[in-house]
C-alpha cells in the first residue's frame, strides 16, 4: 500500500520556492494562501484562524468536499509555530497546492485542515538571521529591569548571528575558557578533557557586544543567551515549563496559541493532528505509561496508545526513510497539549533531517543531469596529459580519505562540506575580528537555521513524502458499521441489540481521549421511551472502539415493551467516526438490519 501511495504522491509536481528573506517570506506565504483561496476545481477553502499579535492574518485551509454522508473524522496539520522551521511552512503550503493540483481521491470522503504558518510575526522579524524562532514580545529576559537591552549583534555585517570564539580570554572579560579545538575537526570546539591533560583554550559566545555595559554579552534580546519573546511551543498548557525563558507569563498567552487551542477545542471531529516543527513523535514515539507527579497526566502517551503510535510510526518511517530525529523537549508544546489535553493522536515531525539519518534508498536524489549531447566524431584521440595516472597508480585528484564524523557537529560539518558548489553556506569559517570590548577574536561557526531547514531543492521531495504519509493516515481513520438484532422475549416484550464495529485501522479515539472526555463518546440511543424500557438505558455509550477483536465492537442491548408492527430505531452518533441509524419493525421472526 505504501509503495502505491508513495508513487501516487510522487506525481505531485514541483513546489515553488519561497523567498528566504524574512518579511518577503511572510508575504510569499500569504500570496500562496491567497492563491489557494481563489483556486477552483477542488474542495479547498481558506478561513481566518485569527490575527497575529501584530495583526497579520493567520489562515486555516480546509481541504475536502465534506459530503454529508462522509464520516466527519478530520486531520489537522499545523506548521510554522517556530520561525526556525521554514521547511515546515513550505511543506504545509506545498501539500495544499499539490492537493489542489492533483485532486486526490480522499478529497471526496475526508477532510484535512491546514494551518500553514501559525506564527507569521516571528518569521517576519527583520535583522540578521538568528537561531530564534519566537514571537517577538517586549521582555526583560535577564531580569535586570530593562527590556531587551542586550541582544546579539551582527558585528561583521554578514547577515547572520554566528559565534565568537575567544582564545585565552583575559580575566577582565569575565569569560572563562572551557573549550579546545576538536583534534578531528579544527573548525569545531569541544570541552577540554582534564583526564587527557588538556588545557582549556577557548571561550565561545554568540556574536555581539555588551550593549548595556553590565559585563555580560547578549544576555537579553533576540539571538542572545536569554532570547526573550514567546516560544509558542513552550506556551501550551501541558507540562508548561513555567519560568523558563520563552515560556510566557501564562499558557496560551498570545492570540496565535489561544486561537489554535480554541479552534481545536471547538472541532470535535478531529481524529489526528500532524505537526511540522521541531518535535518528533513519529520516529521515536513518546514514552508510554509515564505520568507527571499527579500520577494521571501523561508525560508521553498512554500505554494503550502505544500500538497505534507504533503502527503510524512504522508507516512514516517506511515512507520517509527517517531513522532518527533530534531530541527536543516537548514541555509546553502544541503537540504535547494536543495529545494529553485534547486527547487526539498527534504526530509531530521535523519533516527533514540530515541525510545520514535517512535510509539510503529514501534520501533525496537530485534529478539526473541532462545527458550531454552525443560527441562529435573526433578524428584524433588526444594523448592523455603527462600527469595522468598510469594504470595501477592512484588517481592524483583523489582526496585523502576523510575520517568518519563521530558526533553531531562533525556530521553537520561533513554534510555542509559535501553540499554542491553554490549551495547556501551552512558553516562560516572562522575569521579574525577585533572586538571593541573583547579584543582579538574570531567570528564564524554554523549558520543559523541551516540545521533546521532543508535545502530549497528538496522541498518538493519532502512534500511528496508528507502527501504520501497523509494519504496513508487518512486511509486508516475510523469508520463505523452497524447491525441490529431483534428477538421476541414474550408477548409485547422485545429484545433489540446492535453490533457496532469500527472498520478503520485506527481506534475511534485514542486511549487518552477516553480519559480526557472532551469529545462525546459513541452514543447509541433507542427510540423507545424510558417508561417502556425493561432493561437497558435509553442511551448507551462507549468511550472508544479499538482496532480488531472484541474491543472494536460495542453491543448495546435493550429489552422493552412495544406493540407488534411498531418501528423502532437505534440512532448511533460519534463525533469522529460518524452517525448511523438502524431501523427495525417489530415482528415475530428474528430480524437483522444493517448499515
Amino acid at each position: 500500500m505504501f509503495t502505491s501511495l508513495f508513487l501516487c504522491a510522487l506525481s505531485l509536481g514541483v513546489v515553488r520556492p519561497l523567498d528566504p528573506s524574512s518579511d518577503a517570506f511572510v508575504r510569499s506565504v500569504q500570496s500562496r494562501i491567497d492563491a489557494l483561496s481563489k483556486s477552483t476545481g477542488a474542495a479547498v477553502s481558506v478561513a481566518s484562524l485569527t490575527s497575529s499579535t501584530k495583526g497579520r492574518p493567520i489562515s486555516i485551509i480546509k481541504l475536502g468536499e465534506s459530503p454529508a454522508q462522509a464520516p466527519p473524522a478530520a486531520v489537522l496539520i499545523v506548521a510554522g509555530a517556530d520561525a526556525r522551521h521554514r521547511t515546515g511552512v513550505e511543506v504545509a503550503l506545498g501539500l495544499c497546492e499539490a492537493v489542489v493540483r492533483t485532486n486526490p481521491p480522499w478529497l471526496k470522503s475526508r477532510t484535512v485542515y491546514v494551518v500553514p504558518c501559525l506564527n507569521p510575526d516571528a518569521f517576519a522579524v527583520a535583522g540578521p538571521i538568528t537561531d530564534s524562532g519566537r514571537l517577538p514580545l517586549p521582555d526583560d529576559a535577564d531580569h535586570d529591569r530593562r527590556i531587551a537591552e542586550d541582544p546579539a549583534d551582527d558585528l561583521d555585517n554578514d547577515g547572520f548571528i554566528l559565534s565568537m570564539r575567544i582564545k585565552n580570554p583575559a580575566p577582565s572579560t569575565g569569560l572563562t575558557a572551557t573549550l579546545v579545538e576538536d583534534p578531528d575537526e579544527p573548525r569545531l570546539l569541544r570541552p577540554a578533557d582534564p583526564a587527557k591533560g588538556e588545557r582549556p583554550v577557548y571561550a565561545i559566545l554568540p556574536e555581539g557586544s555588551d550593549n548595556d555595559g553590565d559585563g555580560k554579552f547578549n544576555e537579553d534580546g533576540r539571538g542572545g543567551s536569554a532570547g526573550g519573546g514567546l516560544d509558542l511551543d513552550m506556551n501550551f498548557p501541558a507540562h508548561w515549563p513555567q519560568f523558563k525563558d520563552g515560556s510566557g507569563t501564562r499558557p496560551l498567552q498570545s492570540p496565535e496559541s489561544l486561537a489554535l487551542a480554541q479552534w481545536c477545542l471547538a472541532n470535535h471531529q478531529l481524529a489526528a493532528v500532524i505537526v511540522f516543527g521541531r518535535h518528533d513523535t513519529l520516529v521515536s514515539i513518546p514514552e508510554s505509561g509515564k505520568m507527571d507527579p499527579s500520577g494521571q497526566f501523561p508525560l508521553g502517551i498512554e500505554n494503550d496508545d502505544k500500538a497505534l503510535y507504533e503502527a503510524i510510526s512504522t508507516s512514516f518511517k517506511d515512507i520517509t526513510g527517517i531513522s532518527e530525529c533530534p531530541k527536543v523537549d516537548a514541555a509546553g508544546s502544541f503537540s504535547s497539549w494536543a495529545y494529553s489535553t485534547l486527547g487526539i493522536p498527534t504526530f509531530a515531525t521535523p519533516v527533514w533531517v540530515r541525510p545520514d539519518l535517512v535510509k539510503e534508498d529514501k534520501r533525496f536524489k537530485p534529478p539526473a543531469p541532462t545527458p550531454p549531447p552525443a560527441p562529435t566524431p573526433i578524428a584524433e584521440i588526444p594523448n592523455p596529459p603527462d600527469d595522468a595516472p598510469k594504470p595501477g597508480e592512484p588517481k592524483k585528484d583523489d582526496k585523502p580519505k576523510r575520517k568518519d564524523p563521530k558526533n553531531d557537529d562533525q556530521k553537520w560539518l561533513r554534510y555542509f562540506d559535501d553540499l554542491p558548489a553554490g549551495s547556501p553556506p551552512g558553516f562560516v569559517p572562522w575569521k579574525p575580528f577585533h572586538h571593541p570590548q573583547l579584543g582579538e577574536l574570531e567570528i564564524g561557526g554554523f549558520v543559523p537555521l541551516a540545521r533546521t531547514n532543508a535545502p530549497q531543492t528538496q522541498v518538493s521531495y519532502l512534500v511528496e513524502q508528507q502527501a504520501a504519509f497523509l494519504a496513508d493516515l487518512l486511509d486508516r481513520l475510523p469508520a463505523l458499521e452497524a447491525r441490529a438484532f431483534l428477538s421476541r422475549s414474550g408477548t409485547g416484550i422485545w429484545k433489540l441489540s446492535a453490533r457496532i464495529t469500527n472498520t478503520g485501522s485506527m481506534p475511534t479515539r485514542a486511549a487518552i481521549a477516553a480519559k480526557a472526555d472532551r469529545v462525546l463518546p459513541l452514543i447509541a440511543t433507542i427510540s423507545v421511551e424510558p417508561a417502556s424500557l425493561i432493561a437497558g438505558r435509553k442511551r448507551q455509550t462507549v468511550d472508544r472502539l479499538a482496532v480488531g477483536g472484541t474491543a472494536a465492537t460495542f453491543e448495546p442491548e435493550w429489552t422493552f415493551r412495544a406493540a407488534e408492527g411498531a418501528t423502532i430505531s437505534i440512532s448511533i452518533t460519534d463525533p469522529v467516526a460518524g452517525n448511523l441509524t438502524l431501523s427495525v419493525t417489530l415482528a415475530d421472526s428474528t430480524q437483522e438490519a444493517a448499515r
Partner: protein
Amino acid sequence: MKLSSLAAAIISASSLGTSASAQSDVPSKVPLEFNRYHTLAEIDTALQNIAAAYPDICRVEVIGKSLQGREMRVLVVSNSKAGPDSAKPAMWIDGGIHANEIQAAEAVLYTAWYLTKHHGHTPAVSKLIDERAFYLLPVVNPDSRDAWFTGPSTPNNFRSNLRPVDNDRDGLTDEDGPDDLDGDGSITQMWKQDPSGRWERDKDDARVFRRVPSDKPPGGWTNLGEEGIDNDGDGQINEDGPGGDDMNRNWPAGWLPNYVQFGAGPFPLSHPETKAVADFIEPRTNIAAAQSYHNAGGMILRGPGAAFREWAYPETDVRVYDALAKVGEKVLPYYKSMVIHKDLYTVHGGFVNWTAETLGIFSFTNELWTPQKYYQRDGANLGEADQWLWRDRLAFGQLFTGYKEFNHPKHGKVLIGGLNKWSSRSTPTFLLEEECHRNFAFTMYHADQMPSVYFRRLSVKEPTPGGFEIALEIANKGLIPTRSEHARRNAIGRPDLLRVEPASGSVLLAGELDSWDDETPMLIDNQPGRCLVPGGVPGKGSGVLTRKFYIEGKPGTLAKVVFEADKARPIEITIELKPQDSTFSEPQ
C-alpha cells in the same frame, strides 16, 4: 544629610485627622447593614455608592464582564492625594468565586464599607489607605451569585460558574438540573416510602431520616436525591445541572485538565471572569498580598495545593506565612492555619496558588464560618441534637422546609423537603458582622505587613582624600519581604534596585555585606551605581539589606541614594560626602 523618604513626604492630612475613640460610632456616607446578606445588585449598587461618596480615596474600575454579560467592578481604595495606587504596595481581596459561599462577598463589601468610613477618623485605617492600596472584587462569579439568590439552590450550589457543561456527556448541556418542585426557593430532598428502603424516619422527630445499618431490616424509606424530574426524558433525574466548571481550578499555577482536576475548565483562564481578574492583577506588580474569601470550615489556608508543588514555598517564605497566620488564629476564634494539600485536599490551578506561585504574592484563602461558632465552644463535632437545637432555637426553624407530598411523574407519591439553602456553610445573619469584621481585621493585618522599607543605618568614611566608602542598611517594617524567596529563585517580577548617584565623581565599586561590621564585601556586579537586588529586603525580624559603595567624589558634594521595589514605596536619601555615622528609627 537630608532624609527624604517618600513615605514621610506623603503623609496626608487625613491620616493625622480626628482620632476616633475605639468604640465611637463612625457613620458611613453609604449606610449598609451586615446582619443580612446582599444580593448581587445590592452589592453592585453599594460599591458604586461608596465610590461616589468617597471620591478621594476610591474609584470603581470595570475589569470585564461575566459570561452572561454582568459587569465586574473592582473598587480601588487608596488615598490618591498620597500618591497613585500603582506606586504603593497593594492588596487584592476578593470573594465569591464559589458563588454559594455567600458570606465571602459580604466580607469584601464590609472591607470597602469599613475602610472608607473610617478614613480620616481612625488613624490606623487612614494610614492603611494612605500608604497602601486595596483592590476589592466582592463577587468573582456574579452570574452564579445572582442565580443563588434569585433561584432555587442548595448550600453547595452554585459553586461553579454558569458556562454550560455537558456533565453527563450526552451531547446536551445543562438539560436536566434539579427542580424546585415545592417552590420553597431551595433544592431539598425527595423521599419515597419503600418496603425495602434503607432509611428510617425518627420516631420522635419526623424531620429526621437515618440510614439503617446494613445488618438491620429495611427502614421503609428510600432517598431519591435532590428534588427534580427527568427533564430530558432519558430515564435519569438531575444528571446534568447548570454549569460544571470550578473557576477556582482555572488558574495557571499547576493547572491540570479536567480529567485530573475536576472543574478545571478547557484551559487556564478560559473563563471571562478569571481572565478579567488575571488581566487586572498580572500587570499590577505592586500587589504584595492577596486574600480570596471562601466558606466554610474556619481555615486560614495557604498553598501549595499539591504536594509536588512544595518547591514554591521555601522555608523563608513559610516563616512569613506562619507569622501572619498565627495572628489570624488569634483574631479569628476557632480558625486554624492550614496548608491546602496537607490539611484540606489537593487543588490544581487554584487562585491563591496562582497569586503565590506564579506572581510571588503572599496569599491566603480564609474559609469563613465554622460550626464551632454555633455555641462558641471548643469541639467541632456537634451531635444531631445540638444541630437541631440550633436550627430550632437560634434560627427559629428558618433552615428547614417541612415535607410536602408531591406526585412525582416517575416515582409517584414522594415527600419533598429538608434542610434548605441557608442551613449550612453560610454564617448565620446575626453573627455575620462579627465574621466579616474579624476576617477584615486579619486581612488588614496582612495588608499592614506588606513591605515598608526605610534607611536604618548610614556610614560614610573617607579613607583617602576624595575616596569615600558609604555603607547603607535598609530595613523593612513589614513581615513581608519586598521579594519572596520563591520570586527570587524563579526570577518572578523585577528585582529591587539600589541606585547611587553622586553629584560629582563616580561610583567605583559596590559590595554586599554579610553584616554591618563585615570588612570584606563581596563585589556584586559591573554597574556599581545600579545594584540589582534580586532577593529584596527581608521582612522584619528576618534581616536587613546591607550594601557598601566606593565613591570617588569631591568632599562636601552630595550623593543621592534611591531604593526602588515593585512591592514597596521607593525611598531615597541625599548624603553629603563627608565622614559621618547615622542611625534612623523605624518610621511610624
